[in-house]
Symmetry: D2
Subunit: 94 residues, 4 copies
């Protein structure tokens, strides 16, 4: 069964259970991270990469120097699905 | 001595010496890469990360699944400098 | 069902289906890799890391400069299991 | 000027300035690390990889699941040199 698009209310309820900083931006689940330097930022991205591939669900990752931006959406659902909330939760656990 | 902004002509001459696919987009040195899957794409990003930190010059990196986009600019020069051409050359060598 | 230890004959048959270079060393499925430099070697290790975590089966990884050594064994089986052959196959596919 | 081999006394003095856990094992500067899981361990290894390449001095890295072992020596000096202490210091800073 493919993941289905969540309602705005379901997304809000999901965000409420994540770490602070997650929000809905351009219809994607979004968070920006700032690290001490590039090495720290890329160490984090590597961990995100590993958990993403394990979940078979991949984020939009943007990085410049010590900043990392993550945007989550599910193409097959044309919106945010429970997979995005699950990936956000696993990223929070890193 | 900080790197200085290159002229459009210098940038064109520099791009001519890089692999195909590099161009100037939004005043940044830009190339898009497409890989077989996420694992390959992230392996490439890790190599880009290592050579960037070694050069002390970091790209704007964007990734989603098997696609990687690199944009190079030099903040201190308010434009594209020789450092960007050097990083592009090292990325080409990967 | 936990993976079970394969017989020497099963291991030999499995190795025959892998790329050249895999062999049984100290009761582990072993292969040594040599790359052009450290950056290439670590890019490869990153890809191995991602596929390992996805399979939930992790190699013994050794790296110095451009060399990477991989040893595979299954602790729960006290020997080489089908999981090790599967991971070797996925590493071959990188 | 190539790095020169440090005396045992110089090595001891150097180790005294590092984080706890570093010691001389088999004539190499050695430390073992244990992480919560593989993802954390490999995130750390990636950071070590980046700082090593930047210093142009590479460790012997061993990893299995959540454990990482680092051994430092300088081939050109046939022993432990100031480069190894410098790399250990940068690993401590991660």
């Amino acid at each position: 069964m493919p993941p289905t698009k969540l309602s705005d209310q379901e997304i809000k309820a999901g965000i409420a259970q994540l770490s602070s900083g997650w929000s809905m931006v351009n219809a994607k689940l979004h968070k920006s991270f700032k690290f001490g330097d590039f090495v720290e930022a890329f160490g984090f991205m590597t961990k995100v990469a590993i958990v993403s591939e394990k979940l078979d669900h991949h984020p939009e990752l943007f990085n410049v120097y010590n900043r990392v931006t993550i945007d989550l959406t599910t193409h097959d659902a044309s919106g945010i699905s429970s997979l995005d909330l699950e990936l956000a939760k696993r990223i929070d656990a890193l």
